[in-house]
Every structure is written in structure tokens, then in C-alpha cells.
Symmetry: C2
Subunit: 217 residues, 2 copies
DNA sequence: ACCTGAACACCGTTCAAGT
DNA sequence: ACCTGAACACCGTTCAAGT
């Protein structure tokens, strides 16, 4: 029971705890578990064990499990926004940029299905949320509103209420993402790609700035 | 320790168990809990207690909790299909019927959000499912495909691949339902109604049988 | 401040046993 | 066949205690 440091089962620096930034490490470990085995399989005990801390250390940084998931969701919206903005800006901020945005959205959702589900599925209740979550979510949506506003200004999209138009576009894209993620398209990647193409065409027609052909009276 | 029947803690008929159809009672009780407090709050012990049976009685009828949820989901698709078909048939099997179908879909999802989430959320894994689930799900989707096929035949919708077209329409409607259910439209009912109206207009334009106006060269 | 270990009140599921 | 009670191996969370 002397302080011979060779016999300690786990090496720990004296006077310093495990992490410089345990909060950050907890979010990253949670995300790692979620991406590899799904959010349902996430246990706080497992996260603590993987990081070499006690299973209650987490409560110094998060009120409860939901607060940790809210932080993970918030991180997701930040990444999603970055992907959307990149697609838009790297492709000319016009029609091509808009379609690149849609492709980036689906690539994110399909590439990180478990993360995407934490962002939208009801893992995070409507009650007390991460203060940043609402902000990040609004910010990602804002990128879409901005793009549509620009398209409208340049005569490339119908001059409707931009917020309403953005919600419609979001619903279409979100709906496709969810169907693909949930495996409702039994053809797999092939069918998903075909649906993406078809949806892009129909959306172009639906948002076309040109007046709809006169009804046959 | 004699068999005085007055001292028994719970009255039970001799020679008869609790239910004529425990399986059915379990599904209905599970649905009751889900609709009132959400699927996350569903516990097998609670279901058993509410029905006055032991918490393991359930395993005579379902392999596990997921199998019970699959049965609940299957029931949901049956109800959804009935609502869709009614909207279509009671409104003339034309454009009006098609829009009534969409309205019925959203009414079902928004009226039974927890049930809807069990049908689509990842409560039921892609692995072993209720044999009826896939069938019921396909059947509900089939109602949509049939309606679109009819519209195409009558020149009321673009003559695209009906399956692909149906998937697109489904994605739009599913996307709206999910955004509303998940509380992403902060305006509440007002905003949801406005989005529904706008989406119906855009969808009409997107599926219009008339050729799109010639592009400006 | 930050972390620990023990304890509490739950879960789903298994299993030997009863009728 | 259908149901039961005890037991097992988990959970998230709380709390007094350590440094």
C-alpha cells in the first residue's frame, strides 16, 4: 500500500485528472458509439469506461443522458450547416449550387444515419435542450433560406415567401433522407439514387419561376 | 393455508386464464400507453400489470419487446391504409381524391404522432420483424401507387414511372409529417397548415401532366 | 472543482415450476 | 398450453465521501 507508482493498476498523473476537456471527450466518445452501434446502444457507463473515468463523472458536465445527446445533436447541425454552405458556395450560388446543397444534405444524412436520427428522432425531448441546439438547428436551416432568397432575387425561383418555400424544400429532402435511412426503399442504393434524381427534377419544376401553364379553362 | 377462496389476494376464475385473446389485449394496451405517454415509456412490466397478468405472460405471444412493437406498427399501417383509401374513394378518385389522401395521411400522422413514430422510427429493427408488418406497409404504399396510376391514365398526372412518382409523393408527405411531429415548425398549427397548403400547390405543379415551359434557351 | 464507489429504483429476459 | 415467481444481468441517477 505504499505509493510505488509501478504497482498502480491504472496510471494517473498526480494532481491532474483524466482530461483537459472531459466534456469534449464525452461528446466525441458518445458520437463514436452512436455511429458504430446506434443511439439505442449508448450507455453512460460504457462511455465512462471507454474514457477511463467513473460512470458518474459525466454528471459534472451534463445534467443527464438527454443533455449529452442534445450536445451530440447540436454538433450534427453544425456539421450539416458546414456541408450545405460548402455545396452552395463552391458551385456558384445559383441553380447548380442549390442542387449541390441538396446532394450534400442527403450525403450527410445517409453517411451518418445514426447521428442524423439523434438530430431529428425524438432522443432529445422538446423540454430542456442544449442551449446551442436550437441555435445550431436554426442556423443550418438559415443556410437554406439564404440560398432560396438569393435564387429568388436572381429570378431563378418563384417569388414565394422564402421561409415557407425553405420549409417545403426541407420537408422533401428530410423525407427522402428518412425513407432511405429507415430502409423503406427496398432496392437499396440504386433506388435511392433514382429517387434523388427524380426528386431534383420535380423540385426544379415545382420551384420554377416561370408562370405555370394556363389551366385548360 | 387452506383453500378458502375468500382470502385470495386477487380474484381469478378457476380453470380459466385472464384473457380469451391476450395477444390482442397486449397490442391494444401497448398502443394505449404509446399514444398517451410515448413509446419510450412503454415497459412490458407495465403492460402486464395493467392487464392483470404476470410480466412474463407476454412471452407466450411475442418473442420480445420489439415483436410487440412490430405488431403495433403493423396495426398502424392497416389504419393508415384505410384512411388513405377512404380519402381517395370518397372524393371521386381524381385530383380532389388525391389531395384528400394527402390530407388524410397528415391527419393520421399528426393525430397519432407516437404511433406514427413506432411505424417509422427505428423502434422496430430491420432484422426479424412481424411477418405482417412488411405486408401492411407495402399495402398502404400500394394505395398511393394505385391512385397515381389512375391519375396518369386519366391524364391528370405526368406519365412517369408510377413507383418512383409514388415514392416522391410519399417522401414529401412523410417529410412534412415528421417536421410537424418533431416540433420543428415553431409556429405550431398555423405554420403546419400553411406548409400543407403550399406543399399541395407545389406538388400539383410538380406532377402536372402538361409539359414544362420551354427553358429560355 | 472534479472524481469516486456504493446504493437505489428501475429495466428486459430466462427458467424451473405450477395448473 | 398458458401462466407464475424468483433470479440474472443490465440500466440511469443520487449521494456521501475523497483529493
Amino acid at each position: 500500500m505504499t505509493t510505488t507508482r509501478a504497482s498502480r493498476p491504472r496510471r494517473k498523473r498526480a494532481g491532474q485528472y483524466h482530461h483537459g476537456d472531459l466534456r469534449r471527450a464525452l461528446i466525441e466518445q458518445a458520437l463514436r458509439v452512436i455511429e458504430s452501434t446506434g443511439a439505442e446502444a449508448l450507455t453512460l457507463r460504457g462511455v465512462g469506461a471507454a474514457l477511463g473515468v467513473s460512470r458518474t463523472a459525466l454528471y459534472r458536465h451534463f445534467a443527464d443522458k438527454e443533455a449529452l445527446l442534445a450536445a451530440v445533436a447540436s454538433e450534427g447541425f453544425r456539421l450539416l450547416r458546414a456541408a450545405l454552405v460548402e455545396g452552395w458556395e463552391q458551385n456558384g450560388r445559383g441553380t447548380a449550387g442549390f442542387e449541390a446543397m441538396g446532394a450534400a444534405y442527403l450525403r450527410f444524412a445517409i453517411g451518418h444515419p445514426a447521428h442524423y436520427r439523434v438530430m431529428f428522432g425524438r432522443f432529445v425531448e422538446s423540454g430542456v435542450r442544449d442551449p446551442g441546439l436550437e441555435v445550431e438547428s436554426e442556423s443550418a436551416f438559415g443556410a437554406l433560406v439564404d440560398a432560396l432568397t438569393t435564387l429568388q432575387r436572381d429570378g431563378l425561383a418563384r417569388a414565394d415567401d422564402a421561409l415557407l418555400q425553405a420549409r417545403f424544400v426541407w420537408a422533401v429532402t428530410h423525407g427522402i433522407a428518412m425513407l432511405v435511412i429507415d430502409g423503406q426503399l427496398r432496392g437499396g442504393d440504386e433506388d435511392a439514387a433514382a429517387l434523388n434524381r427524380y426528386a431534383a427534377e420535380r423540385l426544379r419544376q415545382a420551384l420554377s419561376a416561370e408562370p405555370a401553364p394556363a389551366s385548360p379553362r
